[in-house]
């Protein structure tokens, strides 16, 4: 049994070695959750010296090392003797890496954006490494910001091909990040800006329609377009999107319903057909733009075109925030220079426009993160990216809604009320958009065919017809329903 009965720890009782305390080398085992090394060290060395040896063996810097023995953290200033570390004993080691992963654990933020951890490591090496215990000032809450700062560090990422290439890709990456971090997701959902956008079915619809693949899909399956045009359904979907818990419920119900379908004779075939006809193209269409299937939440009818099993949460609203926050978020930073430069800019987005449209600001706090700002900077310097952004069809309507609602804009721009300048600026931006658009016809012209049809059907009130058509985007059936719904008969 151990003879060091706690009387005098400095008495070496464990192994037979000479009593001389001077410079006696002892072998101490250093154990990490993954690894084990034996380090030979002088008995009366300090913890700092010990760490030096360890850092060589484990290929880590001294600041990253945290040593634990007998339930105590060993401080650099202590000696091994002080803690009673003797030959043959084991000391536990924790290596703090910049990824915030210890020698054994994995970083939670390693999602598909492989670029992110690297970028984040570069931006966080100093803070993470410098601290042993106290460090990280709120390690966890910093995680969402970490994701952004990772992405925001486009300069670091440019080498990885993310720098200037594709706005869409960027978007997707962000989305994936968001998806993997539910906290952030709920943060975003709560952002009134997002909510406002989501409550605007027209906006949503435009977004969907903008996607060319979606358009194809709609042509093939008119039911889809019908669904899109039904504002009720859209609203429901958006409600669902807002509430992830409800979403999951829906999904589950849907899954169950679908699996029931299978058991019906011939049901399996129907399911399969449904999948191949509808789901695939829709999925790929959606994935291209949003990374999800926007109809996943529509559980209304299992055999309608929209239903589809087990997608992850409906992410449809997420792409929205790209547009509006950008406009005014960086207005703040734009200040004088942008106004002057934009006033000269005519149709196409002004290249030197520091307006980082691609503001990943999905939460107010997020706007002001340093990553965001650097992202904006990146954008300003990168005209290509700007153009890509501008070409996103839903941008226009997003910006419009922003312009119309200066309150919203002020929310977006962190904490500052839009000044005169900014408002002016917004106007100009709008005009820019409008100017840059292909010649937009008035709704009357666009819908004149439908108007005629409605007329023939007996809806004489041209005004009302027009309104209805505008609201439903040209869908006659939906327009009729709207008209009928509003009439007292």
């Amino acid at each position: 049994m151990a003879e060091n009965s706690g009387t005098d720890p400095s008495v070496d009782a464990n192994v037979d070695k000479n009593a001389a305390q001077d410079g006696t080398m002892i072998v101490v085992t250093v154990k990490t959750p993954k690894d084990k090394e034996e380090i030979v060290i002088s008995e009366d060395s300090s913890v700092a010296q010990f760490k030096q040896e360890i850092s060589k063996r484990f290929k880590a810097t001294q600041e990253q090392l945290v040593l634990i023995f007998a339930g105590k953290i060993l401080k650099d200033g202590d000696t091994l003797n002080q803690h009673g570390i003797k030959d043959g004993l084991t000391v536990h080691l924790v290596i703090k890496t910049a990824h915030k992963s210890t020698a054994g654990s994995a970083s939670p933020t390693t999602s598909s954006g492989a670029a992110t951890p690297q970028a984040s490591s570069s931006s966080r090496t100093s803070p993470a490494a410098a601290s042993s215990t106290g460090g990280g000032a709120g390690v966890t809450p910093a995680q969402p910001a970490n994701i952004l700062s990772g992405l925001g560090d486009l300069s670091a990422l440019s080498g990885l091909g993310m720098g200037s290439s594709n706005f869409m890709e960027l978007q997707q990456q962000m989305q994936r990040q968001l998806m993997s971090n539910p906290e952030m997701l709920s943060q975003i959902m709560e952002n009134p800006l997002v909510q406002n956008m989501m409550s605007n079915p027209d906006l949503m619809r435009q977004m969907f329609v903008g996607n060319p693949q979606m358009q194809q899909l709609m042509e093939r399956n008119p039911e889809i377009s019908h669904m899109l045009n039904n504002p009720e359904l859209m609203r429901q979907t958006m409600e669902l999107a807002r509430n992830p818990a409800m979403m999951q419920e829906m999904m589950r119900n849907q899954d169950r319903a679908l699996s029931n379908l299978e058991s019906i004779p011939g049901g399996y075939n129907a399911l399969r057909r449904m999948y191949t006809d509808i789901q695939e193209p829709m999925f790929s269409a959606a994935r291209e733009q949003f990374g999800n299937n926007p109809f996943s939440a529509l559980g209304s009818n299992a055999d309608s075109s929209g239903a589809q099993p087990s997608r992850t949460e409906n992410r449809e609203p997420l792409p929205n925030p790209w547009g509006p926050p950008a406009t005014s978020a960086s207005e703040n930073r734009a200040t004088g220079t942008s106004t002057s430069s934009t006033s000269t800019g005519g149709t196409a987005p002004n290249l030197s426009n520091p307006l980082g449209i691609n503001a990943m600001g999905l939460g107010n706090g997020v706007f002001s993160s340093p990553g965001m700002q650097s992202l904006m900077q990146q954008l300003t310097e990168n005209p290509q990216l700007m153009q890509n952004i501008m070409s996103a069809p839903y941008m226009r309507s997003a910006v419009q809604s922003m312009a119309q609602n200066p309150d919203l804009a002020s929310q977006v721009s962190p904490g500052s009320t839009p000044s005169q300048q900014q408002q002016q600026f917004m106007q100009q931006m709008l005009q820019m958009f409008v100017g840059g658009e292909p010649p937009s016809q008035t709704p009357e012209v666009r819908f004149h065919q439908q108007l005629d049809q409605l007329n023939a059907m007996g809806f004489i009130n041209r005004e009302a017809n027009l309104q209805a058509l505008i609201a439903t985007g040209g869908d006659i059936n939906a327009a009729i329903e709207r008209l009928l719904g509003s009439q007292p008969s």
Binding site: M1, A2, N4, S5, G6, T7, P9, T29, K31, T32, P33, V66, I68, F69, A70, G71, K72, I73, G84, G88, L89, T90, V91, H92, V94, K96, K100, S101, T102, G104, S105, A106, P108, T133, G134, G135, G136, A137, G138, V139, T140
Partner: protein
């Protein structure tokens, strides 16, 4: 009725001390005497490494374990020194609720300090705990 040998308290604790120094186990928990001159072997330090893929990841939690005179017949008192938000730990002083931790509630005299620490670490990995928001690193309970 099981035929169990009653090991004297000091023997048990000395054994645990040795285990702690030798690093028995997987290295995710550590324990040792708080004061090497403590002849009663009552006060112990404990250390738990926050398990990966939880909110406790990368954190090192300090604990104080007190093995009373009736140990190992009675469970030890365990108290977190580092602030933590965990079910079963009092928010105000870090005291671990005996009834909340399985090993403490159904204590056997074959259990050890190591087991308690490992159980606490397991609790950190439970679904209900693994995402609880935590106070900033480095804060300790002040009493």
């Amino acid at each position: 009725m099981a035929f169990c040998v009653k090991v004297p308290r000091s023997f048990r604790l000395l054994e645990e001390l040795e285990e702690g120094q030798k690093g028995v186990g997987d290295g995710t928990v550590s324990w040792g005497l708080e004061d090497d001159d403590d002849m009663t072997l009552t006060r112990w330090n404990g250390m738990i490494l926050g398990p990966p893929r939880t909110i406790y990841e990368n954190r090192i939690y300090s604990l104080k374990v007190e093995c009373g005179p009736k140990y190992p017949e009675t469970p030890p008192f365990v108290r977190f020194v580092t602030k933590i938000n965990l079910n079963g730990v009092h928010n105000s002083n870090g005291v671990v609720d005996t009834r909340a931790v399985g090993a403490l509630a159904k204590w056997q005299n074959s259990y050890s300090i190591r087991m308690v620490l490992q159980e606490l670490r397991r609790l950190m990995m439970c679904k209900e705990n693994m995402k609880l928001p935590q106070p900033p690193e480095g804060q300790v309970y002040s009493n």
